[in-house]
Amino acid sequence: MNIEVDVGKRLGGFDLQARFTGHDGITALFGPSGSGKTSIINMIAGLLRPDSGRIVVGERVLFDAAGGIDVPARGRRVGYVFQDARLFPHLSVHQNLAYGWRRTPETERFIGFDLVVDLLALAPLLERRPGKLSGGEKQRVALGRALLASPRVLLMDEPLASLDLERKVEILPYIERLRDQFRLPIIYVSHAIEEVVRLAGTLVLLSKGRVAATGSVEELMGRLDLSPIAGRHETGAVVAARVGRQLEDHALTELEFDGGTLLVPRVDLPAGHSLRVQIRARDVAVATRRPEAISMRNILAGRIEAINLRGPDAVGTGAHAELRIMIGRTALIARITRQTIDELSLSPGMEVYALIKSIAMDRQSLGLPAGPHEFAE
């Protein structure tokens, strides 16, 4: 099922205009705080009324300003997982889970109570009250509650933002399960790029109330012009790869991508398993000749496609510039000093070597793409 969103809304002095399409799987709304992410999903949920535009899920029009259609929130069949979970404090976990389920006509239900309890490992929590749950447990219950209302689209508003790293790691596999087991468009609001890299198929980049770009995560993260929007610390190409050989002796794994091989710290996944790696621009160095006797394990031959002398700063007065280097058909972004560019006379079309430390590609920068797969946690 698809979700088409095309909405306009004035909020005080802030003007929001957003248009994008989400498909089965996860569409990430990514942008700095204040870029309008939460307002957009509130409009999809029917909690905020757009001034103009249309919202369509599958064949069903939820909102159409021109046609005078505005389905109330309770009739939209939109599952909403809030950042702060918003469990009903006076009800047990079981009653919370059943809240939307009971209100869903039997013919509309596509998911069973027990299945959700199994999927999210909620059985031990059922009799407890929300006040006695950890942050991660609360979010799992919130996920289950939204899912049990058999939604046509699932909205997630930074569901991991209020959790510490340990809890995030605990929740991520559950979100991946949802994504992979149900044919359901999921709109996932986030400002954490590692979540986007790990979870999302499609990326909608938002900036100041506008959609700056939409496309696949790999495509957008490899673009030089979007780096100021994605955030200077987050800049870095996302490479789709497949697990290759395991180098057991040295606890390393080879990842094959369209253009070469990456050597990363061991990944406990079977050969052939696909996954994503984000290679941060600040972790990529450039050489004009193949270096020898060097500790960096990843030396990839490629060609400079474009240079952005302004680097990550919108104004362009900083020390750094960014290069887009094609390794075969895969783009990498490298952030190096402008001085280097002058000294090495780097220019588009030049053959260069991109150097990446294996250690730079840690667990956090490894994402797992959409598609059925096993977990090897």
């Binding site: 949920a45 029917g46 909690l47 109330p72 929130a73 309770r74 009739g75 939209r76 069949r77 939109v78 599952g79 909403y80 809030f82 702060d84 918003r86 469990l87 009903f88 404090p89 006076h90 809240y99 939307g100 209100r103 869903t104 009250r129 929300p130 006040g131 006695k132 509650r145 939204a146 209302a149």
Partner: protein
């Protein structure tokens, strides 16, 4: 305790229970209106509501007699149409107690409703709940601590109501001679001091117990609405 004293106590308990039973649902409705709706004249309604707290109770009783008495506008109509009479009946004492305790019941419920996170109700909307269903399953249960406080405060206030009651329904043995009326009567009677003192102690004990109960029950309900 003598027969008269026991009768007065039983009557007071009956009147107070009925006053709470009738007043509490109304207080919930009014509290919801005041907490959740904005309308012109809200401040006037709010002020009128608190009037029984600030005007002398005898004024409230007098007005009740004026309107609900047998010759009053509403009272005459009720008598003619339904044969219902409040003046000088225990039911009139219930009305007087309910009116006098009403502002005390509205206040805690209103505060409790205002303290509810509206985002919980938003969440319920996304789960397919209708406004009425949200009110019944989220709003009212979360306002429970306020309802408990309201019920007990209303009960205690009704039990001790004197001025409005004696003005509206008089002081008729077995009909309208409530605890407070009885104490007043015994004080006027030769040798009535001991009986008056016994009832005074009973009144103090009940009021004190009610206040302790408010605190304990409200604490428990509070924990519950915080998900513990």
């Amino acid at each position: 305790m003598g027969y008269d004293e026991v009768q007065a106590l039983k009557l007071s308990l009956k009147v107070a229970l009925w006053a709470v039973a009738i007043g509490l649902p109304l207080a919930l409705a009014v509290a919801t209106l005041l907490a959740r709706c904005d309308f012109p004249g809200k401040i006037i309604i709010d002020a009128l509501l608190h009037m029984p707290l600030v005007v002398p109770p005898v004024v409230t009783g007098y007005l009740l007699l004026l309107w609900l008495g047998r010759n009053g506008v509403i009272g005459a109509w009720l008598d003619d149409t339904f044969g219902i009479v409040f003046a000088f009946r225990w039911t009139g004492a219930v009305i007087a107690a309910a009116v006098m305790s009403f502002p005390l019941m509205v206040r805690p419920i209103r505060l409790a409703i205002e303290a509810i996170d509206p985002r919980l109700e938003e969440a319920a909307r996304t789960l397919g709940a209708s406004p009425l269903s949200i009110y019944a399953t989220i709003t009212v249960p979360l306002a429970l601590p306020g309802l408990i406080v309201a019920a007990i405060l209303g009960f205690a206030k009704s039990l001790g109501e004197f001025g409005a009651t004696i003005t509206f329904v008089g002081n008729i043995p077995d009909e309208t001679r409530t605890l407070a009326n009885a104490i007043y009567t015994f004080m006027q009677t030769v040798d009535g001091d001991a009986a008056a003192m016994r009832l005074v102690l009973v009144a103090i004990a009940i009021s004190f117990a009610a206040l302790i109960a408010v605190e304990l029950l409200a604490r428990r309900a509070q924990a519950r609405t915080h998900g513990l």
